[in-house]
Amino acid sequence: MKVAYWPGCVSRGFTPELHGSMAKIAPLLDIELVALDRASCCGAGVIAEHNPELADTLNARTFALAQQAEGTALMMNICSTCQGAQSECQERLDASAEYRAKINETLAADGLTYETGLSNKNFLWLLVEEMGLDELRSRVVRPLTDLRVGPFYGCYIVRPVTRLGIDDAHPRDAYLGQVIEALGGTVTDYAGAHKCCGFPIITMNKDASLKQAGRHLGDAVDAGADCLVTPCPLCHLNLDLQQPLAERVVGRDLGMPVLHLPQLVGLALGVSPSELGLQRHVVKPTSVIDWTTSVVGEVGAPSAGG
């Protein structure tokens, strides 16, 4: 399957292991990535907060570039926040021909036009809806037996339900659990799976932000999870990078590894933890690596901290 691939900004900035692991596993899933390297930041809701038309135009430009990418079936992203921010703009663009024409007028200067009908799916949705869980299962070479994984979706990919196309036929808010099981792992239920990591207010109300991260991580610890998995790099920042600070705010040790979705899939496809960049995380994924004892030697994580 050939897809117009939008990696987002954070996956190439603060969490390079996300883009890296996606690039590693794509060939193993027969996904051909045609990178949208001309496209701009989705705005993460902040540009829309500043000026909705600006966000709509920037994302319409991205959609137009995706529609130009030859031979691609759809556009794929690897970030819950990109999915939500882009879906919001697409919803407005698709709602009115008049509004769309106004936006396209701005794009016309660079010879671009957005037409309705582009399908933009997060890697998670693509796995379940385009590839199918049976197909995914058939490619697993190292099932995640006995690994207890807590799903963490990220707000932008589960709400609002109608905008994100979540219904009985497409229970997209349950897909992480389905994927974990298809990979041979066990789903850990805990209170925080669909809640907010707190990242959007980290610079505005740090205490409340870290309380959210700390609370969900603590709930996952209490529910017995070995690790969390998330399709959102911004959630990853608050849950992993900031975990030492979250521990201080909630006053307890957490030590909960957080994996990017392509990393979890990659482990089950037999890719080594170091190739997936697991050593780059702030919280050492010891519980995950113990489970893949055969490759523990390849993980070059410095022993300090964790």
Partner: protein, 354 residues
């Protein structure tokens, strides 16, 4: 007629016992409401079941509860729908969250919801001099506030607000949507004062974590989060209020970094959110203090080669031609005399018209 089972959360503070679950079987047609189910259980089995209701038609906002874990109006939820979305075929009803329970399904709206509503001065402060007859306002201006006026004060959004869950002092979705109702009203005389108050309050408009819960919770399509974003837009852009919570600085830094590079440069975003929208921000005392307090996380990230020094000093950016396109889009859109805000709630969708 069909049989349904309700699992109700019971709690009587006077008994001294903890809350518990209790099941009741009811017989009603599937299209009847969960509220009617609860009332039948109350009439037939146990008159002591506590539930608040009045209109039974989704107008008065009295019957907010959580059904199968999600906030909604009991009178506005069909029994068959609720059963279908239950985890085990039993319709689970419990009181709303983020508010103290008075008894069973009744929460203390006064202690939380109404207190917060009063916090935003929920009445018009008229422009002076008051005209002899009515105020004359442009039609569009009033259409703009209809979405926030649709609120029936049910508290469903307050129940599941994720910022309030960790910060009970957060003013919250319903009250902030109400605030927009007056900030957006041309007859009101205190737009700046209202916005400054809500921007400077550490638990005001910048305390919303943008989680969309209130949008899904609201039975009336008020989309409180969207109203909060409009308040931020007005406060930061139009009234240039530089709040103490870094709200305006964060937005300005984000928007201008994308204009400059085409992509988000996170290594610059953090210092600029604290120190202001300039490359020198990281040397300002407020930013330096913040970076030092974040140091354990950043030092660890550096140790793991997660954030390389190169990433900090050489930001990723688009090719020059694409940066020029992005910049031109900014200039076109931001150069308009009036900001364009396409709101589907007001304009509808093309397919709705055909």
């Amino acid at each position: 007629m069909a049989e349904f089972t309700l699992r109700l959360r019971r709690y009587d503070p006077e008994s001294g016992d903890a809350a518990y679950w209790e099941e009741h079987t009811i017989d009603l047609e599937p299209h009847r409401s969960v509220l009617e189910g609860i009332l039948q259980a109350k009439n037939r089995d146990d008159g002591s079941i506590g539930i608040r209701c009045s209109c039974r038609a989704a107008i008065c906002g009295s019957c907010g509860v959580r059904i199968n874990g999600r906030p909604d109006l009991a009178c506005h939820t069909h029994l068959d729908h609720a059963k279908k979305h239950s985890s085990d075929g039993v319709i689970e009803v419990e009181p709303m969250g983020n508010m103290p329970v008075i008894k069973d399904l009744i929460v203390d709206m006064e202690a939380v919801h109404w207190k917060k509503i009063r916090r935003v001065t929920p009445w018009l402060i008229p422009k002076q001099p008051v005209p002899e007859r009515e105020y004359v306002v442009p039609r569009e201006a009033m259409v703009d506030v209809t979405q926030s006026m649709a609120c029936i004060q049910c508290g469903a959004c307050v129940s599941d607000c994720l910022s309030m869950e960790v910060d009970p002092e957060f003013i919250g979705p319903a009250a902030l949507a109400k605030a927009y109702r007056f900030v957006g009203d041309p007859r009101d005389d205190q737009h700046f004062e209202r916005l400054q108050d809500l921007a400077e309050d550490p638990h005001g408009i910048y305390d919303c974590t943008h989680c969309f819960q209130c949008i899904d919770a609201c039975p009336k399509g008020v989309a409180p989060m969207s109203q909060i974003m409009r308040l931020r837009r007005l406060a930061g852009n139009d009234f240039a209020i530089e709040d103490r919570n870094n709200g305006e600085r964060h937005e300005a830094a984000f928007v201008s970094l994308v204009k400059q590079y085409g992509l988000l440069n996170e290594a610059e975003l953090l210092p600029r959110s604290y120190g202001g929208d300039t490359p020198l921000a990281k040397f300002k005392p407020s930013a330096a203090a913040e970076l030092t307090s974040s140091l354990p996380a950043i030092a660890k990230a550096l140790l793991r080669r997660k954030v390389t020094p190169a990433a900090v000093f050489k930001p990723h950016k688009l090719a020059p031609a694409d940066r020029a396109e992005v910049k031109r889009i900014y200039e076109t859109v931001e150069g308009r005399d009036e900001r364009v805000e396409f709101n589907i709630y007001i304009s509808g969708r093309d397919e709705d018209l055909t």
